[in-house]
Symmetry: D2
Subunit: 471 residues, 4 copies
């Protein structure tokens, strides 16, 4: 499937104030920008129709003030940020997808990935549907609008449509009069509800976006829950009444989400510190300082430090002004570009035994570089601790994690890897520990399929990559 | 209907050479650029799929070399330039429209305007179709792909689909293996066929695009004709076998087309010179020099000169470096901006009685300005001759001509207008003369509905503007 | 000298209205844009200082409304457009050059080229001066400001400084309180004075810029004249009282200036028509139609037509939407790009004997292409008439004409050239005729050194190209 | 003086490899980007001349690969990044300044600010010099090139010139054959020397740029030292042989420099941690967690934690995707924009007594916002500790610190401020402590004039702001 790589951020809001609603969405999307930097889009209602704008780039690039002004004022708005994957990066696939159908207009924002989109698309094509994009979102749009022909309301149409979807999806949608949010049967992707000071609702992939717009966190949506917000207030609809399990993607805690977000009642920073504490317990080491690889390794390093009693330090500095990578005529320059991104703080690591916490080892090249950096800066020993298990299985639920991401972990023991990257030791978090990152009671409510191959929402029957692109 | 204003250019080509096919389309579209400066797009086949790129702006802005390279090589390609109208100028509505359907992919380029698109769209929506744009092209795409479910071939599907269309359309389309071109039942919009030196076919709105790519003109498509080009060569299909009238838009000769194009066997320059000759015959005047308002008035001025024996001169110079109009803080500056666009050549008109040929008088402000310019430069008399009748009726077939375009001609006699714009006399081409611009034999095969309200393809039953935008 | 290629446009204005003075300069520069498309700049006085902005590109690209607004209001402003030459195209060399010196600020705009700038620069360097650009303008700035140390006024300093300059220069300058304009001893480059409706003065390289801002033409500056405009009105100063010859560059009439400008009392269009008439007299031919190569050949074609009685026609159409030239993978595409720029109007030339008027033959490739184009369009014969003599000698006075520009004319007879470019005949204007383009009385007051090597202002003693760039 | 605000970064390099030298400078400048984001420039030698490019923006914006390629290869190169101050942000003032003089070319990069530039400029103007910029760098260029008229070498000219300069300057310069670096008499601005693996020298404002290009740190330049690097190796020249005091700007440690740099033998991170330790000693507090305001407060927070034994935490998360600030139609949105930049991690501070370390309190608005943020996130107490004394005096040596920067600290006691910003307590580092940030032995070799008004290099006699801009 060509559209596996869809880690994204979704946002929706109602505002009685109307003025500046597009700016509010822009603020929310900027808070979710870490979930996707490829493309951004905003749709706003206006009278009985929907205006929208989307484009490639960061939120503030796609939305200069003129564009926000052009979107005008409205009572309902939704927005989307899209993950940057190589290839297929066209504005055609950007979201929200805004469609006109027999009953009016609909704007959809989608985070996640279906496993049965091929079958659904095929079925729709056989009924004469045409597709202008390669995204699941267009499939979902069709299902909803076709149900809408018979259903008494848009929310009923959404309910019926999502019952046909298999896989992961957090949806934020709007008709010209209603704001809707829906989370898949297993709640694989996060989605939460907040409240503005004036009582209006906000939906967002992560709570940090609620904070940004000045809303207070109310609760996460339940798995399979559809919430409708209109002039009559909020209504909750259960799309899968007989179903009540949960399988939140554990990688949200490990990597995707921002440290200041709270997902399913658990602080992301707290989960990461817990990973660090587990590593300290399971793989202790004699050392003088523990440092994190910025930005995602810092919280786990703090946890490791607290658990082990080893001093926490800032041993690596990231350059925040790096632009695109240039084509390097010489090896000397290629090295320089890597060095530019990250530098060691010699005074912090000199003559010390260092524990270095990172969230993954992919091909090992980066890890080897950082280890060398620390040793060149005078570190006596470097012990690498990874705050996640090795990924061994592909993700079909909307993340860019696939088995290639840990080539080095496949068929190599931690000892092998340590030797390969020049570290004095290497250890990973165990899968069992990963499953308790949100607390031991939630072990059954996390999806860790990329580590343990237990796919709670099944796997796609057809998996050729880029089928639609190529065909 | 919000999409009335669709004067555009279409282009399609096959190439055995494959390499650089996107560049060839770029050349063809640049030759058609005068038909639309709002947006441009190119689609190229590749294996069994279609790659495409489109964007807002001029062809060379939308297609820097990197974009052309990215489109790669292929055997079939189509392209489109879109007219710049105010509002609704988004890349979403740019063409080609590329859709995936049950049998594969289809790219469509469309010039013209349907009068029954509202009804067709409604019917499709009731069957569960969704629309992402506000263009007729999406309606046509649906009709074709739905017919394709039952039809044995794409050409058969196109034939069945266009039989349902009412209005004006010249279509250039491609599947990954076939290039197709089709002209509406009355041939309202032009479309011609050319042949590259290696025998491959080219389709274009105007013959000047054939010249640009080095193809020779073969013939115009017949009204209602569908031509298919694939590995087996060309095949012609008649979509309306029982129908054989023609109603080419007369405005193609008067204004739209380029002087070096030949449409339906008639040179555009020749038609314009004929307009000038008719004016000289019907509305003679004693004068020393005849000048044209650049660029479109020049050919008619030449005809006027030849017929009347009055010397032809170059009395007005256009500044080709004008950018966007700036917001002027003072009247002095607003005047300056107008003066910047056009200046009189004093030595050409000083102490002379001047005949000034233009192709239209809209509100009269511009004409009044030019007359004043010539008088300030020393012209003793200025006699205005317009190479078209006044537009009095809206066009529903894809041009931006509506009744507002000649406010001054409504309810005012030529004598009134002369007084209003400060000219010594004003005269228009008569409707009868306009109908013979392509030669007296073709009087019955031209559409001049904007002058005489005889609409050969009917009028839309629903005409609210921007229905889809607003709804 | 690296800065030989300096065909430029200069403009200066006073305005009592103050508001929008930068916009007025923008209008004037846009009217002069044909004299230079590389860079543009505007300086405006403000209190006792000077604000300025300059950049690479067309006037409207360098000056979006924000930039004009930023320049604020003022009573005096000057502007410059710079010719696009390959290489050395940096904003550092753009004008006006604005310098601070002991008595305040000075902004200079310069059109022309000195022949003793190397010696002057060297002398200044030996006194400790530093140069940040490679332009003559910086040399002139130094001379003026150093004279200003001793001179009682800026005008006296300018007078003393220009007495040291050899070569061609039209200068428009401003201090925060005075506007100054000065033309070299021989008046090689044009410069004229106009008057706004409110009586304020305007200076411009060509009268078309006066028209654009709504000023009336007053007179050309005399060779060696310095005009100062301040709160006390205009004052004329003669910088070379004992000198009274003139040597206006004949190429201004043939090529540089706009057809609607009047230079030294002679209409540019009229001079060009005269060139056409001379060609008809000196090199008559039996033909059916005479056409010009747009844009500069059109006026001469008109003159040829009038003199010969052969019908004038529009046989070539230029595409005005061409962007940058792309890199062509194939010969087919390279050809297409050339075809795109210019196309023949078949109906105008078919079966006809054609006289084609152009203003130069350089390497012959373009001429050969146009001849082929006309023949392919059906022309029976093509007779080429060039409205200038062949350039045989370099220009040291600020034009981009050098001997390479007519490689084909060197050592080849007109008959040879006709054969080489496929024409039925080729003829040039004679040097004698060129010298009378402004009327027979002005034969002694034109510089035609590029044709006859009689350099009225001498030649540089040091001519290595790009000395400063390389050293 | 209009050019007080000149915190910048300078860089110079020799390379035997030649190829890609501009890329190496780009890497070095990117590592120094935190010292200036307004403009960037690079100059490279080529044969006996100097090529250069400079522009507004970040290094990677000003130098796309094409620009780097255009600079070609060379053996010597220098570069500059310029601080972004409001106003006067034109490319004219960007560096390196490249000048041509009697003996050839010179490129200068300057970090710092002179106090006698007005007098020097005046003196030069009286000798007929002209100035095209408002920067000290042009004054220095003149002094050097005028000395060069008499001096036997460029290094001797530089020595003589800098003896006339008063104030702060770190210079990196190049002639086409020599690379030179010079630090002012008191070493107010930092400048260090490194060595590439192949032995070639590198000069940079901070050692982090040496790390980036793969060079090892050799030593800081001595105050008043001039180092020349050419084909004969390195030579050190003492410009002020009788002088040997040092007055490094203490603000380099507190704020400007990057944590991984080492200046005058002291690690910047270590100095910041020391500030934190001092605060813990001098202003202890009962608390549960100590957090830093990112990025510059983090190291001091670590020091406070180590000294006090209070747990270190990550309590604030910065959004790294913020673009320009938009104009907010409502107060709600203005608040949202502030919230977007920084968010609290509730799980880290909830129910805790928090010590919050920042490097300054300016107007108090930001501090008040952060305190409120922490309290809203559940912090029971917030104790603010500032890792610097309040600035009370203007800096004349090239930093953007002026007395306005601490309005709130003037005339308000820490207790007042605590009340004003809603904190439970506020304390500043004392001036005595600040003077020992680089170790107690270096107390006499730091400049802390902005805290204690003891100006080691004097103050300017003329201080009107923007004199040159306005005059």
């Amino acid at each position: 499937m060509e559209n596996v790589h869809e880690e994204c951020g979704v946002f929706g809001i109602r505002s009685t104030q109307e003025k500046g609603i597009a700016n509010l969405v822009m603020v929310g999307l900027t808070a979710l920008q870490h979930r996707g930097q490829e493309a951004a889009g905003i749709a706003v209602n206006e009278d009985r129709s929907i205006r929208f704008h989307k484009g490639l780039g960061l939120v503030h690039e796609v939305f200069p003030q003129e564009e926000l002004d052009r979107l005008g004022s409205g009572k309902i708005a939704v927005g989307h940020v899209r993950y940057s994957t190589s290839g297929n990066n066209t504005v055609i696939n950007a979201q929200p997808m805004v469609v006109r159908h027999v009953k009016g207009q609909l704007a959809l924002c989608h985070n996640g990935n279906l496993i049965n989109s091929y079958e659904l698309r095929r079925e729709l094509e056989l009924e004469g549907c045409i597709f202008q994009t390669t995204s699941d979102t267009e499939v979902i749009s069709y299902l909803i609008t076709r149900e809408r022909l018979k259903a008494p309301s848009i929310e009923e149409a959404v309910k019926r449509a999502v019952q046909r979807l298999q896989g992961a999806y957090s949806l934020v949608m709007m008709s010209p009069t209603k704001l809707l949010a829906c989370r898949d049967r297993l709640g694989i992707r996060p989605l939460c509800l907040g409240k503005l000071p004036d009582g209006n609702p906000v939906f967002a992939s992560e709570s940090c976006a609620l904070d940004a717009v000045g809303a207070v966190f109310v609760r996460d949506l339940e798995p399979g829950e559809l919430v409708v917000a209109d002039d009559n207030g909020l209504r909750s609809i259960s799309c899968f009444p007989d179903h009540n399990s949960c399988a939140l993607c554990v990688f949200e805690y490990i990597y995707f989400a921002r440290a200041d977000s709270v997902i399913c009642g658990v602080s992301v920073q707290e989960a990461r510190k817990r990973a660090g504490r587990y590593l300290a317990e399971d793989h202790p080491v004699q050392a003088d300082i523990v440092i994190g690889v910025p930005d995602s390794g810092l919280d786990a390093a703090l946890g490791f430090s607290e658990q082990s009693g080893i001093l926490y330090g800032i041993g690596l500095v990231k350059n925040k002004y790096i632009g695109r990578t240039f084509i390097s005529p010489t090896q000397e320059l290629r090295d320089a570009q890597v060095r530019l991104k990250l530098n060691a703080v010699a005074s912090a690591v000199q003559n010390k035994r260092v524990v270095m916490i990172d969230d993954s080892i992919v091909r090992g090249t980066t890890s080897a570089y950082i280890v060398r950096l620390l040793k060149n800066a005078g570190a006596r020993e470097v012990h690498v601790r990874i705050s996640a298990p090795p990924f061994l299985h592909p993700c079909y639920y909307g993340t860019d994690v696939d088995s290639e991401n840990s080539l080095i972990a496949r068929g190599h023991s931690p000892e092998d890897i340590a030797r390969m990257i020049g570290a004095d030791s290497v250890q990973f978090l165990s899968v069992e520990r990963a499953l308790t990152l949100a607390g031991s009671k939630k072990a059954d409510s996390l999806c860790a399929a990329c580590f343990d191959s237990r796919y709670p929402a099944g796997v796609p029957s057809i998996t050729e990559k880029d089928r639609f692109e190529k065909l």
